[in-house]
């Protein structure tokens, strides 16, 4: 291998990238633009769930109960229905996600037998919002129930006192339980996973398709030299993108950064090498740019979105799906970035993840070097 030829190859690629300034601008700005869109829009915080109430009892007691729903920020009462049909209609057309129906004779039942119930109807087609809304409603009812109990116990003169068990929760790493702090590092990983593989996924296929591969073949440049020459310019662009995104996450979005920048950049370099090699391998494999691009999409976009733990937690997936995530680089990078940002984790704790990423990188580099043949068939 000659460094002179590698340098020449790098120069050729760099010139090719520079000749196309609009692409260069898009490549550098796109991650940042995506980060801004996602940073603001991707949010799992569920508040102000639209609520419909239907009070069939119409007593002081039932009004008192419904006031508890008014007082929280979890619900927003958008409709007070007058008939059951109206309730059904509001749920059907999506005006309300939750409806609370107080049955007739609610207060009478409560005072005579002690047991009363309230109905909650949920639009569960969005099961996440529905589960969380259900949890809120149960919490509100529980506190109402214990208020009623405390009053009753006092009236009966039973000195048992409220035996309530309270939890003093200390939330670590993301004290305010903010979605943004959780998602923004994930978005950086997501964008880099996709951009990284896209950058290189067409480089070889393009040379074949345009016929310039023949010219490359007739030069003395070796296949390893071609590979290094093709990857280095994109590696530099990728690192610039990472720096921009990480900077925006910290200084614009105010995501806490508790780790060290050296660890962040070290891990990012390893990750970039992995995804660039993945793109390069796809490019060698795909031959035509259409086939290569579809392969790149399959190998990067949906895995980075769905199998990385970015939105959907990996430990809650079926075991088979969890195994698949282990061979995909985004999974490790999402977790590394979250750890470095929120927990300030050191390299020693992340040894396992870094090791796995390194193995994937080595395998991909080896595979793509083997798959590429510098000859015409």
């Amino acid at each position: 291998m000659s460094w002179r030829r590698v340098l020449a190859m790098i120069r050729k690629e760099a010139i090719q990238i520079r000749r196309d300034p609009s692409s260069l601008v898009i490549i550098i700005l796109m991650p940042l633009i995506q980060l801004f869109i996602f940073g603001y829009a991707v949010n799992l915080d569920i508040e102000h769930v639209p609520l419909c109430i239907y009070d069939r009892d119409g007593t002081q007691t039932s009004q008192d109960l419904l006031k508890h729903f008014q007082a929280t920020e979890y619900f927003r009462i958008v409709r007070a229905a007058d008939s059951y049909n109206e309730v059904v209609q509001h749920i059907d057309d999506g005006t309300c996600t939750v409806a609370i129906v107080v049955p007739p004779q609610f207060s009478q039942t409560l005072h005579s037998s002690g047991q009363a119930s309230v109905q909650a109807l949920l639009d569960a087609s969005d099961n996440n919002t529905a589960s969380i809304g259900m949890g809120y409603a149960q919490g509100i009812l529980r506190s109402y129930s214990s208020e009623v109990q405390a009053e009753w116990i006092e009236k009966q003169g039973l000195a048992t006192g409220p035996p309530n068990v309270s939890f003093q929760a200390r939330t670590w790493f993301n004290e305010d339980l903010e979605s943004m702090a959780n998602f923004v590092p994930g978005v950086v990983a997501l964008v880099m996973a996709i951009i990284g593989a896209f950058l290189t996924s067409l480089t070889i296929a393009r040379e074949w398709e345009r016929g310039t591969m023949e010219q490359l073949i007739s030069t003395p440049v070796g296949k390893l030299e071609i590979q290094i020459g093709k990857l280095v310019p994109y590696f530099i662009i990728g690192m610039a993108d990472t720096a921009l995104c990480a900077g925006a996450a910290v200084w614009w979005f105010g995501v806490p950064f508790r780790g060290s920048w050296t660890v962040l950049f070290g891990c990012s370099m390893l990750f970039l090498i992995t995804v660039l090699s993945l793109g390069y391998f796809i490019s060698v494999l795909g031959k035509s740019q259409l086939a290569a691009s579809q392969l790149a999409v399959v190998a990067t976009v949906m895995p980075a979105l769905l199998l990385s733990g970015f939105i959907f937690p990996i430990d809650q997936m079926p075991v088979a799906a969890q195994w698949i995530t282990r061979i995909l680089p985004p999974r490790y990078y999402v977790s590394i970035l979250r750890n470095v940002f929120l927990k300030g984790t050191t390299v020693r704790v992340m040894e396992g993840q870094l090791f796995a990423l390194a193995i994937i990188a080595v395998v991909l580099v080896a595979l793509s070097t083997r798959a590429f043949h510098k000859r015409l068939e």
Binding site: S23, I26, M30, I37, A41, V42, N43, L44, L65, I91, L110, Q115, A116, S117, V118, A124, S125, N127, N128, S131, G135, A137, L141, S145, Q149, W152, Q156, T160, G161, P162, P163, V165, S166, F167, Q168, R170, W172, E175, F198, L202, R206, G286, S288, L290, A291, S293, Q294, V297, V301, L305, L306, I311, D315, Q316, M317, P318, A321, I324, K343, T345
Partner: protein, 382 residues
């Protein structure tokens, strides 16, 4: 006469496209197989349900009461008890390493407080680096503790005044989840996965089909034929429209038959909705091809639109949780509408009467974008 000529030109264009797309076995494979495999994997992976929260317990009180509380957690199907810790530091280290998500520390004096009728408190450490899982976990925790407290009180009253025990007032919530009685996460996400896969494939493939001709120089050959620009674009769109229909039919079948998402609606409503969406995706592809020159630009350009479209569609995170500006933006997004159509047809059995605004929105998007693209498209090379 003129129309017949035009139709015959489009016909030739179509033949050329079909031959070109389906000739290469690799491309054929790439168009059909990956969406199916992806559907199978992502159908399982996409879940926001939190079914098991890993937990560690440190019981410094070690009384009947504290053991009873711990057994409530170890017996719950929501929690998996990973560790009985012996020192407070075990909890901290474990959370830091990510061995478990929640850690309970029951200090000594817990039972004494309970017996004395004072509120007893338990310390909880939460790894909140994933805020959603942490919130749901805390919710389970509160539920179990409330049940524990209630039972404890019932016992106390039973002992002191057994004649009153059955009269302790209590209000229960009867929950009826509609459309998805088991609160099954798969039912919610699979329609979204179908929409995402179609958007990604159809948009990139269409964009590539046109840009490729420009890049490898065959657009020059097209230039010397009498074909008009709208005929050219039509010829490019029809084959991918058909592939898209085939794809959509397969994916919806997998959703219904393999994942057993209940299908309450009419196939015709779904078909119309999906076809309009395909038009929108095709138009987006054509539009991208008019603003890019090389296939690499087209690929990155396509995802410049596709990624925000996915994230703003309400696929993974609800639209109602977004800031108002992004909520408005999501109305323009055809993926938002098609996911709504798919979900409502599957789960709610909705018909045209409810869904026509979604379909109209997608149609307007498709026609506008297609109009702009035809105007922007130049057969000539500059």
């Amino acid at each position: 006469m003129k129309l017949r000529q035009a139709l015959s030109r489009v016909g030739h264009m179509l033949r050329k496209e079909f031959i070109q797309t389906l000739r290469d076995p690799r491309t054929r494979l790439v168009l059909i197989v990956p969406p199916i495999i992806q559907m199978m994997i992502f159908g399982y992976a996409a879940t926001l349900e939190v079914k098991h929260v890993s937990l560690a317990v440190l019981d410094l009180d070690n009384t009947q009461e504290s053991r009873e509380l711990v057994s409530r957690f170890s017996g719950s199907r929501y929690f998996t008890l990973e560790q009985y810790a012996t020192r407070p530091n075990d909890l901290r280290d474990g959370i830091e390493r990510g061995d478990f998500l929640l850690a309970l520390e029951i200090d000594s004096g817990f039972a004494q407080c309970l017996r004395g009728g004072r509120g007893a408190s338990v310390q909880v450490l939460v790894d909140a680096s994933n805020s959603n899982t942490a919130l749901v976990g805390l919710g389970y925790l509160n539920q179990i503790s409330a049940k524990f407290a209630q039972d404890y009180q019932a016992d106390a009253i039973q002992r002191k005044a057994p004649q009153l025990a059955s009269f302790v007032p209590q209000v229960e919530l009867e929950v009826r989840p509609w459309f998805n009685e088991g609160l099954d996460s798969q039912w919610y996400f699979i329609p979204g996965v179908i929409g995402n896969l179609m958007l990604i494939m159809i948009t990139t493939v269409t964009a590539f089909a046109i840009v490729r001709e420009r890049e490898i120089g065959t657009l020059e050959q097209m230039m010397v034929t009498p074909i008009r620009r709208w005929e050219f674009i039509l010829g490019k769109m029809v084959p991918y429209f058909l592939i898209g229909c085939f794809e959509a039919a397969m994916l919806t079948l997998i959703g219904g038959l393999w994942f057993e998402v209940p299908f309450h609606g009419h196939a015709s409503v779904l078909a119309v909705g999906v076809m309009i969406f395909l038009l929108a995706a095709l138009s987006l592809g054509v539009f991208i091809s008019t603003i890019t020159v090389t296939q690499q630009q087209a690929l990155i350009g396509a995802f410049f639109f596709i990624l925000p479209a996915i994230m703003l569609s309400g696929f993974g995170t609800p639209v109602s949780s977004m800031p108002p500006f992004f909520q408005k933006l999501s109305y323009v997004n055809p993926l938002t509408h098609v996911i709504l159509v798919l979900r409502d047809v599957y789960l709610k059995g909705a018909g045209f009467k409810v869904l026509w605004p979604e379909m109209a929105a997608m149609a307007v998007f498709a026609l506008l974008l297609l109009g702009v693209s035809v105007l922007r498209f130049r057969k000539s090379l500059e």
